[in-house]
């Protein structure tokens, strides 16, 4: 290992990056606007659920119910007719449609137990259950209050107070911002190292390197440090400027600790980039491989949906992915303010994954060069 070679080759990588202004713009975009818009887009909790009301009763109580749905949890409900309801749900305009039958109020007061019908578009899994629960509670409250004036009912006086730690309003933007940064970190580090290696081979420069007194370990290490540095700086800036600044996400945890963990993560992902590049014969193949690897990383690492909800097999497989551990670290450090005493197992695992990837990539890299 000749440190001066590693330094010089790494600087070369950085200079090469500077020469591609479009790529620089894309990196900037990925760590600024892309994170900002795709975080802002996240609904804050069950937000603006699309609901319509078919009011066939047109009574006091039916109007009360319809008026109980208001933003931000629901869009102001549209009053529609029965045939409209089917069409709107088919077109995916409404997720919920509440049908209040004729004579609902009269039957209610007469104690005849009328039936309200709630139609839920169950292809909208994220809203279907929680939304139905909300709607049930809202109608219940409205009807109870309305009836409360008419007759009283014994009740169990137990209240459940829900308090949400670390994110009191369950604002999805907070979480989204972090997982968007992680997505950008992983994507960029894989692309930069992997594609840069393939470009060298396509342009014949790798062959040139080989006749020089440098080892493949030096070549690879230089790529890893230089590209990891670029991504680390971009990610750090994104955290301070975009996440804490523009998106106003309070981060109780330690940013330096998180960035330290990011370095470990980058070690793993840049090695993975090289590893993938040694598999791909050409840039188009690398593009395909990238999709194959990156999509599962993004979707299954716990940054989009909870890990607990995935089948056991997938949970185990995803333990081999650096993103899984990095997501756990990010949530623990950034939101729960956890320290190194909490996340050290993940940090060790990340280092191990990185070391294995680096080692395998190095072995393949030697073969790839010859």
């Amino acid at each position: 290992m000749n440190l001066s070679n590693i330094w010089a080759l790494g600087v070369k990588e950085l200079r090469g990056l500077m020469r591609d202004p479009v790529l620089m713009v894309l990196i900037f975009y990925a760590f600024s606007l892309s994170i900002y818009t795709s975080s802002k887009v996240m609904p804050e909790t069950l937000n603006k659920a699309a609901i319509s009301v078919v009011d066939e009763d047109r009574s006091q109580v039916s109007r009360r119910i319809a008026d109980a749905f208001y933003p931000p949890y629901f869009v102001p409900p549209k009053l529609i007719t029965q045939p409209e309801m089917d069409a709107r749900m088919d077109a995916g305009i409404d997720t919920f449609a509440l049908n209040i039958p004729p004579n609902f109020q009269r039957q209610l007061l007469g104690g005849h137990r009328p039936v309200l019908q709630l139609n839920v578009d169950a292809t909208r899994i994220t809203q279907a259950f929680t939304g139905a629960g909300y709607i049930a509670r809202i109608t219940d409250a409205e009807i109870s209050e309305y009836l409360g004036r008419h007759r009283s009912q014994p009740a169990i006086p137990v209240n459940l107070t829900l308090r949400s730690r670390f994110n009191p309003d369950l604002n999805k933007q907070w979480f989204g911002a972090i997982s968007n940064v992680i997505t950008a970190i992983t994507l960029l580090s894989i692309v930069l190292t992997g594609a840069a290696l393939i470009r060298e081979r396509e342009h014949g420069t790798v062959e040139h390197l080989l006749v020089m007194p440098v080892t493949s370990l030096e070549i690879m290490t230089s790529k890893v440090w230089s590209m990891a540095l670029v991504v680390l700086m971009a990610a750090g800036a994104a955290f301070v400027v975009i996440v804490q600044g523009f998106l106003n996400v309070p981060i109780p945890g330690s940013l330096p600790l998180f960035l330290g963990a990011t370095v470990l993560h980058l070690f793993a992902t840049t090695s993975m980039g090289i590893f993938l590049a040694t598999f791909a014969g050409s840039m188009p193949q690398f593009g395909m491989l990238l999709v194959m690897v990156f999509l599962p990383l993004q979707v299954l690492s716990g940054g989009l949906t909870p890990r607990e909800s995935m089948p056991d097999a997938i949970q185990y497989i995803m333990l081999a992915a650096p993103d899984t551990h990095f997501n756990i670290i990010a949530q623990a450090v950034l939101f729960r303010g956890a320290g190194i005493d909490v996340i050290w197992p993940q940090m060790v695992t990340l280092t191990l994954i990185g070391a294995v990837l680096f080692w395998v990539a190095l072995r393949r890299f030697r073969g790839f060069l010859q």
């Binding site: 802002k40 609904p43 994220t126 930069l192 949906t305």
Partner: protein, 913 residues
């Protein structure tokens, strides 16, 4: 139409050209006559290539006027009218060819662009390949051809359409003498058959230029002189064109040039052999590239390596540098077998490969500095050494330029400077002077001779210039992997009684090939009878479009891994993502902080631990414990039951139970909230039933919840139809995203500039194969969805398929559009991932419905194509919908198709600028 006189092929008036701040051409006023061969001569970087690119229409005109074949080249209409009559062969060993395609397929591709029908194409291709001697290689991929063969193939591709104006940019650079003779024989023959055709050639070979009808000598972006070779000679009162050119140069450029003197080598017996090869053999599969080659080279010797293209010279050199291992025999350096891992040996060797292999993203200075560091020069030595090399190779004016912007000759000098920066003991140079002008070549040899004679550097050099071969101490002529003759150059010449080494070379090669040279007169005669092709429809020609389709499809076919990844990969991703994105959360960890410790409180906790959603963790001790464990992420939910819970409840007093939820991941927290509230409500009802009896819990009304389309609220039913659009966006876009930028990066984009293909044909032609692949992958995913995932397709299959077709047209179109904008393949990959993956997952309505999105993203979500195809897919899969029901989702998709194609055509350039 004919503004220029009939006998003028091209007329330039005050033409100028700048690249950024650099002025490449300055006020050029010239007339190129028809029916003649015009040569452009001059050193590297004086603007010859730029001039040719302008005349060919490959580069946009900046200043001045340019008339080619009777029309103004600034007018796009004229360009498209005349481009079928112009053939342009760019500089650089077949840069406009496609490496994965075979020889035949390359020519066939060009023939399609020029609108020949099938029979005519095959006849012409057969003829051209026959004449150029490429017929036996018709099925070989171009990537495996040697430099000279690529040049010949480039000419075939240029000649396929009977041009009136043939523009050749250094066509014989890197071509061996025999092939060069054949090449010019072909040109003569074609000219004989096509009277009136003009040929404009830039060349570095003065002996070739001497045979041309008319010459233009250029220097520093200006014309020095023009006229017939005889005129130039008589004007300068010189004997040879080399001398004439030097005489034409301005004083300062001439300074320092003098005849080359080679001091005799003093052989000392004590000098051992530095490079040795014994029965060296290299095989690639069943092809023997190098066959039992022997040589021994002493310290300080200049050893010339000659041979036809593809004879094994480069392979031999790669063995010597340790890049390849010999299959048999041995090679030794400094008396030691070559060990690739021996860093020490590598430091003593300087290698310059045939193709430019320096970093185009680093400046000249940075390239030199990088290599100086790699070879461990002392830091203090680096800067002076760089200056020294810059002086030696005349690079001082271009130190801060990027190599890509430099002409071939200067790049070659840079490569050589890099190879020598560390004072190696052995220099292995693979055609170092290809494309370098005569003056620079002489300067270059001066350096080599100095190194050899005064510093004892051993030089192993391959070349196609016979005057260079004459300067070597010894030369070896190779053919077909074998050594034909070896010895002192003069002895080789006399050995076969030839008057020049060139003749001797050709003599030996012909002997080796063992067959007489083709008589081109006969083989090309049919061209004369060939009818001029009728001009294909200018606006849109399906044939040209399919030309590109075929090319793209062949490339895909040659790369089965990529096509397989696209199809099998989508199934794999569908499985993983389909099963992976499961929104039913189970096994959430919870712990209780029970201050009451009564039967009632335990009953309440048992309600939670008994549900399948939660798994109970050891009870909490106090609030600090709660805080600590939640911070560690051990528990998602903590239930706190206050002291006196049971007794207060029994007395009918209000009691509060607190539930603490880990809100770090809101989507999980929300689910927890839903579950806890549900369990709590259930407990209340049960408790009420026990306390007050059944009547008490009877509600005043019933709420009937109908989960439509997906009655069991299965994640799979919801997700699978949404994953198909996701994957049909990502993969086809990624496939298409490299197709244009790749041509830009590898140089073949010039074919778009100089052939009659229109931008629309180019784009649609490229798009078609990707649409086909995407549709196959759609079909596979559909089968998977129905039979493996068991998600029934309740609606119209035809509607879904139509939607998929329109949608993949959009996704491939997006890929192409990104490709048009990007400069490098890396940027294209990254850009595509950013433009397809993130918006599709975030804004496409796959997880959160588009109607719930906020801000700018909501707008993106409304117009992003994935949104609409998700609606179509879910509608046809789960909601039993038909085309009429989904018409509103089709409309935006149908609008997007022409918009994307239109933008592509708009931003794609038909000329380099």
């Amino acid at each position: 139409m004919s503004a220029a006189p009939k006998d003028v092929a091209a007329q330039l008036t005050g033409v100028g050209l700048s690249y950024g701040k650099t002025r490449a051409l300055e006020d050029i006023t010239l007339e190129f006559p028809t029916d003649s061969i015009v040569g452009l001569i001059g050193p590297d970087g004086v603007g010859k290539s730029s001039l040719l690119a302008l005349v060919a229409g490959a580069r946009a005109l900046q200043d001045g006027q340019l008339q080619v074949l009777g029309g103004d080249m600034a007018s796009a209409r004229h360009r498209s009218r005349v481009c079928p009559r112009i053939a342009y062969m760019p500089q650089g060993l077949g840069k406009n060819l496609y490496n994965t395609l075979s020889v035949f397929e390359n020519v066939d591709f060009f023939a399609r662009l020029f609108g020949h029908d099938r029979l005519e194409r095959h006849r012409r291709i057969a003829e051209l390949l026959q004449v150029t001697g490429l017929a036996s290689f018709a099925n070989r991929p171009v990537g495996k051809l040697s430099g000279g063969m690529r040049q010949k193939l480039g000419l075939c591709c240029a000649l396929i359409h009977d041009p009136d104006l043939l523009i050749l940019d250094e066509p014989t650079t890197g071509v061996d003498p025999l092939s060069r003779r054949q090449f010019w024989g072909m040109i003569d023959n074609i000219r004989a058959n096509r009277p009136g055709m003009s040929v404009i050639v830039a060349t570095a070979y003065m002996e070739e230029a001497a045979g041309f009808d008319w010459l233009v000598a250029m220097d520093a972006g200006r014309v020095l002189a023009h006229g017939t070779p005889e005129e130039l000679l008589s004007r300068t009162e010189t004997e040879t064109l080399d001398a004439a050119f030097i005489a034409l140069l301005p004083e300062e450029a001439r300074a320092g040039h003098h005849g080359l003197f080679i001091p005799p080598r003093t052989v000392e017996a004590k000098d051992g052999y530095v490079i040795e090869a014994e029965n060296l053999t290299v095989r690639f599969g069943d092809f023997t590239a190098v066959d039992s080659v022997n040589f021994q080279i002493r310290k300080g010797e200049i050893f010339g390596f000659l041979g036809s293209n593809g004879c094994g010279k480069t392979t031999t050199m790669k063995v010597l540098t340790g890049l390849l291992e010999p299959s048999a025999g041995s090679a030794q350096l400094f008396g030691q077998p070559i060990d690739f891992r021996d860093i020490g040996v590598r430091k003593r060797i300087g290698y310059m490969s045939q193709s430019f292999s320096l970093y185009s993203e680093l400046t000249v200075r940075q390239n030199l500095a990088l290599h100086a560091r790699m070879f461990s020069l002392a830091p203090a030595r680096i800067a002076p050494r760089i200056e020294e090399m810059a002086d030696m190779f005349d690079l001082t004016t271009v130190m801060d330029a990027l190599p890509g912007a430099l002409p071939l000759g200067i790049r070659q000098r840079l490569s050589l400077a890099v190879a020598m920066i560390h004072d190696p003991d052995i220099l292995i140079l693979d055609e170092p002077t290809s494309g370098v002008d005569p003056i620079a070549r002489d300067g270059f040899w001066e350096i080599l001779i100095d190194l050899s004679r005064n510093h004892g550097v051993t030089i192993f050099v391959s070349t196609h210039f016979m005057n260079e071969a004459e300067r070597c101490d010894r030369a070896t002529l190779m053919h077909g992997g074998r050594v034909l003759v070896s010895g002192v150059p003069e002895a080789i010449r006399q050995g076969c009684g030839a008057s020049t080494l060139d003749d001797a070379f050709v003599y030996h090669l012909k002997q080796a090939i063992g067959e007489p040279e083709n008589t081109p007169e006969e083989t090309l005669s049919s061209t004369r009878a060939a009818p001029r092709q009728k001009q294909p429809n200018r606006l849109f020609s399906p044939q040209r479009m399919f030309g590109y389709t075929k090319r793209e499809a062949l490339e895909l076919k040659r790369d089965p891994i990529r096509a397989a990844l696209a199809m099998v990969g989508s199934l794999l991703l569908m499985l993983v993502v389909g099963y992976g994105i499961n929104l039913d959360v189970e096994d959430l960890s919870f712990a209780a902080l029970d201050y009451d410790q009564t039967t009632t409180s335990r009953d309440y906790i048992a309600q939670i631990s008994g549900s399948r959603y939660f798994t109970q963790q050891p009870p909490l001790q106090d609030h600090r414990d709660l805080d600590r464990r939640m911070r560690r992420g051990e528990i998602s939910l903590a239930i706190e039951i206050p002291p006196g819970f049971a007794s207060n409840l029994a007395r009918g007093r209000n009691v509060e139970i607190a539930a603490w939820i880990d809100g770090a991941m809101p989507i999980r927290a929300e689910t927890v909230v839903g579950y806890v509230q549900g369990i709590h409500a259930h407990w209340l009802i049960e408790t009420a039933r026990q306390t007050y009896g059944d009547r008490a819990i009877e509600g005043a009304y019933d709420l009937e919840v109908r989960y439509r389309y997906n009655p069991d609220v299965l994640s799979l039913v919801a997700m699978v139809p949404a994953i198909i659009p996701l994957l049909l966006m990502l993969i086809p876009a990624m496939l298409a995203a490299l197709s244009v930028v790749r041509e830009k990066e590898l140089g073949s984009i010039v074919n778009l500039y100089v052939t009659p293909v229109t931008r629309l044909e180019f784009l649609l032609g490229k798009q078609l194969p990707y649409i086909l692949i995407a549709m196959i992958s759609y079909a596979l995913m559909l089968i998977f969805a129905i039979y493996i995932f068991g998600v029934p397709l309740t609606g119209s299959l035809a509607t879904l398929t139509l939607g998929a077709l329109v949608f993949v047209t959009i996704s491939t179109g997006m890929g192409l559009l990104i490709s048009i904008f990007m400069r490098s393949q890396i940027a294209a990959i990254f850009g595509t991932a950013l433009a397809t993956l993130i918006p599709s997952v975030q804004y496409g309505g796959i997880i959160d419905p588009v109607s719930s999105l906020e801000g700018v993203g909501a707008v993106i979500g409304q117009i992003y194509p994935t949104t609409h195809f998700v609606t179509i897919a879910r509608g046809t899969f789960s909601k039993a919908l038909e085309f009429d029901d989904l018409a509103t989702s089709f409309l935006p998709l149908l609008i997007a198709v022409p918009v994307l194609t239109g933008l592509g055509v708009l931003f794609l350039r038909k000329q380099a600028s």
